[in-house]
Symmetry: D3
Subunit: 285 residues, 6 copies
């Protein structure tokens, strides 16, 4: 339990408070956002707000800590819109390696990356989370959660349109948790015509199930600006704080469920040496 700590946020704690937490716990969340355009109604930091909201509430409910957010992600295809700041895939991977290495030094053994960005961050996050375990830290477990996979069980039931970048669900989510950042007067039906752009092998709904046979066709930031002049890929007109609340609570519940399972679970085989308790401050080999 973190109930005796003044905050779930690592950066609000002193090192002694973290040391105290590590005497009984070994789990931490790390929220990953972006700074990328989210259309006329959504703030550039939308993905960061999503990751922060999920991390904070899941941490509180599960009694675990969360590291401070990374506001920058892999958003190169949004660079055609003013304000977007993108890390290259390679840079983001290095950041993940460094963060996991640092946390492992202190004895954190369950590190859950929470991605607010969907698609393009995932290549870096999942690769890095896998590679660091295989090549450096087999005794540390990593996992990556993302709304696109985490909310499958509720998305279709609560949304009114296909959900894509700056769509109804993610806008509702931030409208619920950080209402001052949504320009509700700018919600609209603006959307990409994916069929025209990507032909019969594109997808227009990140939560589409079963659906089409697809082939990945990456576009550049300048193509994207032509294709989606407002920056919005799917309608968010129906966005409401209430929808955001349902969506948020569903995902937080899933995360808490996962953390409970993860922390009680020791099935994956790890080398004996990795299982030995690591003392606080001890050097890694």
């Amino acid at each position: 339990m973190t109930s005796n700590l003044p905050s779930v946020w690592l950066h609000e704690l002193t090192w002694e408070e973290v040391a105290s937490y590590l005497r009984t716990r070994d789990t931490i969340l790390v929220p990953f956002g972006t700074t990328e355009q989210h259309g006329p109604a959504g703030p550039l930091g939308l993905d960061g707000y999503v990751a922060i909201a999920l991390a904070e509430d899941a941490a509180r409910k599960a009694g675990v800590l969360t590291a401070p957010p990374l506001w920058y992600g892999d958003s190169s295809h949004h660079l055609g819109f003013p304000g977007t700041i993108s890390l290259r895939t390679e840079t983001l991977m290095q950041v993940v390696y460094d963060v996991v290495r640092s946390l492992a030094r202190h004895g954190f053994r369950r590190i859950l990356l929470i991605n607010g960005h969907k698609w393009t961050n995932l290549a870096a996050l999942t690769s890095a989370a896998r590679n660091i375990r295989e090549f450096e830290l087999p005794g540390v477990w990593t996992a990556v959660a993302d709304p696109m996979y985490l909310a499958r069980g509720i998305a279709s039931a609560i949304k009114h349109a296909n959900e894509h970048h700056a769509g109804e669900l993610e806008v509702s989510h931030v409208l619920y948790k950080f209402p001052h950042t949504i320009r509700t007067g700018r919600l609209s039906d603006a959307a990409c015509d994916f069929d025209r752009l990507l032909g019969p092998f594109g997808t227009s709904d990140l939560f589409a199930v079963g659906g089409r046979d697809t082939i990945d066709q990456p576009w550049t930031s300048s193509e994207q600006r032509s294709a989606a002049p407002t920056g919005q890929f799917s309608s968010n007109r129906a966005a409401t704080a209430e929808t955001g609340k349902q969506y948020h609570e569903y995902m937080v519940e899933r995360l808490v469920e996962f953390l409970a399972w993860w922390q009680s679970h020791d099935e994956l085989s790890t080398p004996a040496s990795a299982k030995a308790p690591r003392r606080e401050g001890e050097e890694l080999p």
Copy 2:
């Protein structure tokens, strides 16, 4: 049309034959495999055979060229099994950058990466295919095809079990096209117990649709060897060449369809300079 060329394989042609092709065409396929264990029945090169089979037949039917295959991919989680050879994610990304850069020099403008490996290659392939366009070659189009997404429309109809690594569909596929590489006497029901290993947030079928809320939990090669001691993740007992034929032909048809659409299509906006025809041998800026 490549009908006047002696082969669809670039490495079987002379440069003059390629130059002749480039006078009217600008499309090429690039097959990506791996060298990784595929259980007691499947060869280490299975993913390469998949990519080769798809690339060769799609190239023939669409009248386009295919580059020679890359037999090495991102397979680190299989390194616990003898014979697996893995490139790091970062290395594979560099290979993709170099291959695309080289092809772009000659005037290839539509480059379709065909991944035989599913999951773990995709992070490198899709990131690299996107980054090279954004940062270096906006006038070159890239795309990435993978059975996991390409065969959604048929997989459920023809398979008898959940499909995962070394499962019924991919083994059937190679049994159909390269029968000498499958040890049919070793087909079996061996499978991972994903629920036990990954809890309620794992997935046991790469073609599962809708299905569960999932969280990515990468495992190490030594955990994998414990979890799947034969190397096989799902049953392939029902594998037949006939199933492989249906699966293969469905995917080839999809690829040919995509290539037809892609080559007739000029919707994505590209900078004017990139649209200017590039003369054979001309230096890139």
Copy 3:
């Protein structure tokens, strides 16, 4: 002026609001913090809070924007204390390159990095800020501000001890702006005995002027933990919000003064091409 925008923080704005800002302005601040131990009284995020406080208030007073903060920095020597998360120098340089490149795409031409961390971040920040100009973006101006250099004119007048890591001034600063993060009951006289550790060539006051002949002797995280078991390098017992207010206001005033001078100034010679106005969204060469 940003007076018509709802926030100085880029991530709270939409891209259209940023586009509107860029029609008349080209300046942005970027705050760099760390997640590193700051003794028994200071939070792990102290450097981030410093950078955020300076960036936010300077941005408001100068009517300019600020990018979201980077909470992770080059803190490897603090890794002996639980909770510290460090980027390698090389990773931090890549982050700076990517952030500056992204901002330059949109027409930002004056980019002021605000470092809350002092010493060890500076190698990465100043090198990267210099290299990106020389080798890629000569038409974009960068600058780096740090309390250690920015507050020379006031530090000696308001502090009661030598100022070093987790010392009176930086703790006062955060006590003034983010009081809930300081454990005032843990303020103390704990300090390193620099003379014993580093001999006659060390320095015990980051604001020392003139002072000693010095030689840089980097220590490891485990040496540091021995040398400063509480994590605090100099006394912060005298820390007060009032001292923090004076320190903060002095630095904000300096930053505003600098920004006024910088924005009115066109003295440094830049290539003619770089001076041509870049249109919003336009591709960089």
Copy 4:
């Protein structure tokens, strides 16, 4: 002996078959080719065919395994001709490191790289083969074989002209083993005038012995295209399958001889720990 295995090619075997091989053997070959122009008569994949032919036949005769071929190499100076695909030197080095690391994990201790490309691949292959031993895997032996050095004892006796890129010997070699890839109607005397191009310090015969004092003068792909408009550097008019057979068999015999010596030999001092038998699947330190 591999006589009980269905193939010498690793990618045609299952992991269990490789495990069985590793119980008594620790040697593997790795063929490195390129995809680069070889004049009007030779296929782009010529170097790969050379490496494959040597690896396959040497493996069969010596009873050892061979990894699948790498079809891409360091061919930047051929990029002026359509179809050439080049890896940068740095990328190729990383591929070698990854391949050797992977093989070492399984207990392969003698890894012979077979280069079909001559010159420019060698910098990457020999450096990487050396570095990986020194810095990571002292207990694994690597070696690099190349026709240019391997066939010194026969080249002069069987060729009719100076031998250089796309010359009589390498074309004969592939004509013997993969006749469908040579356009015999396009064999010719086309050749570079090396003296005019490189002055008195160039070399026009890769097998020249004693010969001239030389200075390396790298040329770019566009210079090369001017200098050798057909892509051929020396006459291949006299190429015959018979010459290819002699050349091939000589080199295979040399490789088999070397492998026999190498496998019986334990002279080079290796650290005791490296000599300890590594169990299949065991983690490297």
Copy 5:
């Protein structure tokens, strides 16, 4: 004592002589220079001469060895002047890592980098000297000395002007030790007008103490050439060999003092394993 060795320069010794030194000593100096313009009177190699002079005389007096000099440094902002050769920051860091790793292999445990360049080399040298200890070689001590910090105690007393690039002190230094490289007829009062260029937050004296609140504003090589058309930043008209002698002897004395302290000192805590004597030639872990 090195008194029985024929030279303090490592490259003038045989490996047996170095082995003999290492039986009782573990200290070495490494001089870092640059090849960068130093105005009309100073040679391009000035910084190297400074580092060589300090290293050689300090080594002699302290009875320790010095490695050969690196003549290339991080000088990108001087690239506007013919003859300047610059390493990128990242390259220089890699050189430092490699040099320290090599020396550590032999049992050198105190490695003092002597920087003749001031500012811009320091980011690479201090970062690399710190990182290599933290992440690879905790048992090896590194330190970095630079005239800018080493000569604080004498600079103001002996110079007649503000001291900056190519100024009175560094020119005097080289005039004293390598007189043939200074064009005394070209000494002059040429200087940058820093106030005009950098506004109220620049600094015009590298030895300024207390002085101004400053903000780092990196300039490009082309801006620098405009700002300082002769390449000289401050007056060197008063340069004399006598001033150089005082400056040099003061710094050598400081270095010798530091070396004496460093070698007698064992205060910083290092892991026990690192303290175990390393036998000559022994492999590092």
Copy 6:
């Protein structure tokens, strides 16, 4: 002609002197050495002395400039002997790229790298010299000279034994030019038994002509120390200053001949843009 300049060494000149040289010339030499053991008689810096001697005398005779030497090279296989300092291959390549880029900025168009080290430096030097031309600077010519190839015409005539590392010729060379660095009392017949170590495919004479079929077998530094306990690979007992003089003068003559040819030669086709004269100080594209 450099006859009006006070030195052929770039680092002894002012930038104005270099600018004056560049008004009529565009050639420069760059000497590459190593710091690696050369047996009981040769200094660690032997390769640097070789490169310096050749560069200085060739520059004088040809009236061209030489950059300062790099004393560090790719010597990892010598790290078993105290005093050896090695750069990794990748680091050395980066140094070459940076040096060539810098020189190209000033208008140097003919850059001759002079390698004193033989074998292992060559992979990095020749690759980097080739890559920088192809990918960045097609208008700049690079070349690489090495005694092993440059002295073929004389070596056999003047040496008394097979020539290898620390052998008669290179020791004679340095004995002639830098006699104080050779311990003549330690000249000996110590030699590796290459046949025992490398079997029938090794080579024991770097100048061997025609000779054997060879296969490259890299060894580690610890294997090398076992194989050649004195560090010397071939007899240098017969070394004399007179032999060194003949060897040196032969190579200098060859270099001067090459430079004369190179500077009068414009045969290699370069893009028109590259041929445009670059003005001193002008920015590269």
